[in-house]
Amino acid sequence: MASEVVILGGGVGGTLCANLVARQAGEQAHVTVVDATGVHVYQPGFLYVAVGNQRPAALQHPEASLLRHDVTLITERACKVDPVDQKVSLESGRTLSYDQLLLATGSRTMMEEVPGAKGVHDFYTMAGAIRLHQALEEFEGGTIVLGVAGIPYKCPPAPVEFVFLLDDYLRGRGIRDRCEIKLLSPLNRAFTIEATSKLVQPILAERGIELTGFFNVESVDPVARTVTSLEGETVEYDLLVLVPPHRGQQLISDSGLGDDRGWVPTDKNTLKHVNHQHVWAIGDATNIPISKSGSVAHYEATVAAAEIVAEAKGEPAPTHVYDGKVMCFLETGHGQATTIRFDYDHAPVSPSPSRFWHWAKLLFNKTYWHTVPQGRLP
């Protein structure tokens, strides 16, 4: 009898893993994807929507169009997992039984956790990116501040990329000389990775972007238009953009499958739930101390798929495990970009910013829909 494989979440990781399991297990598994919206969203594009370089519609495709025909899609919210009885309850009251379960539920943003930050801008949701773009279009001059209100957050390079793209945008509008851009970093440098920070910090200085270190956003005073850090510093702004605090999904917490922030305790190599059999987790949903990014979800999906297929077929677990591989692009403005590649055993490397990597990033963003979800890229 075919194994029932249930995948919660139709993002990069869940979609790719569903297609790989269906392809590799053939008749020996039946795959079901449960996704609340049925719409697959390419989140790396939000950054470009904010600065007006991307149409929002181009970042969304129906999930059904990305899944193999032999994968079942249920467009409904999953409410609870019972890892003992191996069941998932859906909002309608329907229950799915599983032999193998993949948690690819991603993360959610929680701006409401920051006192005073209601109405502050962000580019971590489609609505946020669209609203930020409107605010930028109306902006005529003053201080734009970008701060980080919680670690971990999705796409570690995004704040640095945003200030570079913002610099380009303001130059394009001819109002750069009337604007100040301030980047408030939680660390002593621009970016988590030291080598990449050394590369981008001189470019920040060259573009007149002011970097303040050790600034972990604690609260906002929307009347005085100031943002204050846990360290006790206060900075004034005219337009404030925050990276919101992130959490795992409610379903994870409600099912007792996560830690106090809803992240799933996951083995960093096998991607298995630390406490439960037949449960795997990938992407943003895990507590693995690695970038929350599409590339991680992509690489992890191939490993989780191989593990799930082996169990479904009753074969020994594959020897290939997740090695912590991450590959990110980082836009540095002026039509240039760099990349950051590393894994658990190898320190990050970044080439000098060039037009090549900028075009590679744009090409990847465009071809994503026909390559990544289908497993056509390694």
Binding site: P186, L187, N188, G213, F214, N216, S229, L230, E231, G232
Partner: protein, 79 residues
């Protein structure tokens, strides 16, 4: 010179960025030359305290570890 410690912070069990953030905030209330000691269990706080003191000009007078607890002694910069 007196070697009295003005403030002692218990940051055990807290993880990045809280140990250094709480310390930075407490240091603001200190007068020039005053000492602050902090106890933390997050191994990441060792490079954090080093980097923070270098970046702000406050001196990391001592940094040691005993039984998994890191102790830092910082002196507020003059002026």
């Amino acid at each position: 010179m007196s070697i009295t410690i003005a403030v002692s912070l218990d940051l055990k069990g807290l993880s990045c960025p809280l140990p250094i953030a709480r310390t930075a905030r407490a240091m603001r209330d200190l007068g020039p030359g005053q000492l602050l000691e902090a106890f933390a269990t997050d191994p990441g706080s060792v490079p954090d305290f080093k980097a923070w003191s270098k970046a702000t000009g406050n001196q990391l007078v001592e940094s040691d570890e005993e039984g998994g607890v890191y102790r830092f002694l910082l002196q507020k910069k003059e002026g």
